[in-house]
């Protein structure tokens, strides 16, 4: 095995122009499989969600899931695709035990949706249009476990064990046209495209599109051509790149690797490659089979899908506001920068903040709590923000208590802590923990008098006009009241008692 010298990224870009093709598989969130009524519920016992159809037993006949077709059409429409007036399924034949039928039911030359685009916004706000070749319907494969061998990988395995619960779960494969003209921003464009597609899928409600759960998976095709030339180079296909960061790294790595092979006078082998999360590298997989080796032919057990135009238009009416358009609208409403919005998006906080504002909080407070204290907590616990056991309505209530002076930030953090610990609604936590801010003068007066008496020297300085020294006395009062005093009111009282104008 020859080791390829990686060319530094900038040097590779100085000589070569990258062309990408991205294939994204989305597992639909339907209740049942694509061609049979077996449940798609996660976490079931091995082989407890199979039937004669998804096991490929003789005589069993598939029937298409109507919601699967509807989801495919809605995805196609959201990607500005044309929707086929008539299309068929096809059998993709291959020898591998992950499909008990020995073929995957897919679509070949008649995809349900084709010819669209998705506009993606890069970090600096630039819009890049990614053209969509097609989106087609197919089914997921079973899950293999390789037994024997050192690493659980297929090499050295003595045998494999198959669980077919996943076999037949609806997949939509979305394929881009060759992405040209991204240049040095190719890795960023790839990541932004997958991120935007994920947001779109979630907004459509057709899948949760959680990449870490395998509900959305990306294959990265990449080739290089010398700068200034038109003809595409030979491509490699890096399979199963399953996080946004990995998509970016895989593109970057393959650009450096291809440039190394080409600079050394070598030829790129058209092959599939495996991505390694640990170091961001790729290694050779199998030589890619030609399409004809899959011996595609129309699926005789399924009749054509011919979506009526009225149905397509009805579905068009159900499309949500595009995520990018929505983000820009919210960004303007909230009066924040592109960069801040990007941070909010990355933190998974857009929906939470919007809901908190809808529940009555002002936008600055909603952003502050979700992106500050709550983001910190989620990070500490290694959980997603949305998974924290606190609702936007509860955050809005806490923000309201701060706004009306019942809580200060420090007390509010304790209320959040109480809600997260399951102590109930914010008001109940305030009550039980005794967290009301003390601002009535009779309660504060005694503490202020004590602080003045205990700090005579500082009090004299303030009397002499050094108003800034009041901070030390405020601190003493806050300490004595364990942070529950209204600091602004305390300051006023101190100055009043010492006969100084604030």
């Amino acid at each position: 095995m020859t080791v390829t010298e990686l060319v530094p990224y900038e040097d590779a870009l100085a000589s070569y122009d990258p062309v990408m093709g991205l294939e994204v598989h989305v597992e639909l969130g339907t209740k049942t499989k694509m061609f049979c009524g077996c449940s798609t519920e996660l976490g079931a016992d091995a082989n407890s969600q199979t039937c004669p159809t998804c096991l490929g037993l003789p005589g069993a006949l598939p029937v298409v899931n109507a919601t699967g077709v509807e989801s495919a059409i809605r995805i196609g429409l959201a990607l500005h695709c044309e929707i086929a007036e008539w299309c068929r399924f096809a059998r993709k034949n291959y020898f591998y035990p992950d499909m008990p039928k020995n073929f995957q039911t897919s679509q070949y030359d008649e995809p349900i949706a084709f010819n669209g685009y998705l506009d993606v916004q890069l970090e600096d706000g630039e819009i890049f249009r990614v053209e969509i070749e097609r989106a087609h319907m197919e089914e997921d494969t079973g899950k293999s476990t390789h037994v024997g061998g050192a690493t659980g990988r297929i090499h050295g395995a003595r045998h494999s064990l198959l669980d077919y619960n996943r076999a037949g779960i609806p997949l939509i494969e979305i394929v881009t046209k060759p992405i040209e003209g991204a240049g040095e921003r190719a890795p960023e464009v790839a990541k932004a495209y997958v991120a935007e597609l994920r947001e779109l899928i979630k907004a459509l409600g057709v899948s949760e599109a959680r990449m870490e759960m395998g509900q959305m998976r990306c294959d990265v095709n990449l080739s290089l051509r010398p700068n200034g030339t038109e003809k595409f180079g030979t491509r490699s296909e890096t399979k199963n790149v399953n996080s946004l960061r990995s998509v970016e790294r895989a593109v970057r790595y393959e650009i450096s690797r291809h440039a190394g092979v080409l600079n050394a006078g070598g030829k790129i082998v058209q092959e599939t490659r495996h991505f390694h999360e640990e170091d961001g590298s790729t290694t050779a997989g199998r030589i890619k089979e030609e399409a004809e080796d899959y011996r595609y032919f129309p699926e005789p057990d399924l009749v054509p899908v011919a979506p009526a135009r009225e149905w397509v238009e009805e579905l068009r009416g159900t499309l949500p506001e595009l995520p990018r358009v929505r983000r820009n609208r919210l960004r303007e409403e909230w009066g924040i920068s592109e960069h801040d919005m990007q941070s909010i998006l990355n933190a998974g906080a857009v929906d939470l903040i919007e809901a908190t504002i809808a529940a009555g909080a002002d936008s600055a407070a909603a952003r502050k709590w979700w992106m500050g204290e709550l983001a910190r907590r989620a990070n500490e616990e290694g959980t997603a923000l949305a998974e924290l056991p606190i609702s936007p309505a509860q955050v809005a209530r806490i923000a309201a208590l701060v706004a009306d002076g019942s809580l200060n930030d420090k007390l509010a953090r304790q209320v959040i802590e109480g809600v997260l610990a399951g102590e109930g609604e914010p008001d109940a936590v305030v009550e039980q923990r005794g967290l009301k801010l003390v601002s009535d003068d009779s309660a504060l007066g005694a503490a202020v008098d004590e602080a003045i008496a205990a700090n005579a020297a500082i009090a004299d300085k303030i009397r002499a006009g050094k108003v800034a020294a009041a901070g030390a006395l405020v601190g003493a009062v806050m300490k004595a009241t364990r942070g529950q005093a209204d600091a602004a009111r305390v300051r006023e009282l101190i100055l009043e008692k010492l006969g100084v104008e604030g």
Binding site: T30, G37, N47, C51, L55
Partner: protein, 98 residues
């Protein structure tokens, strides 16, 4: 004239992971060539105005609602498996793939 060569049959056998002897290749190549030739006569009859068909019935849009139906028990699902382990289908080592 459509047909199939001995090399194509050997290629198909490899894709299907079938081990065919030389004489079997000759035998099947001749047989498959005859079959393909017979089926190809259809295209001599069909004019340009006859669309290719993949299904004998003039049906479209046969769909079912997204409603869960009972699955087989794992025991029933595995009952035809030549080998099983940990409630899973056990298959031999898979060669030539990664």
């Amino acid at each position: 004239m459509p047909g199939i060569t001995r090399e194509e049959v050997a290629h198909l056998a490899r894709l299907a992971r079938l081990e065919l002897q030389d004489e079997e290749l000759d035998h099947f190549a001749t047989q498959l060539d005859d079959i393909i030739g017979a089926v190809a006569r259809v295209s001599e009859v069909a004019e340009q105005d006859v669309p290719p068909t993949s299904h004998p019935l003039p049906l479209t849009n046969v769909m079912r609602p997204d409603v869960v139906r009972p699955s087989l028990t794992p025991q029933a699902a595995l009952s035809g498996a030549p080998a099983q382990e940990q409630q899973r289908f056990k298959v031999p080592q898979i060669l030539g793939e990664d």
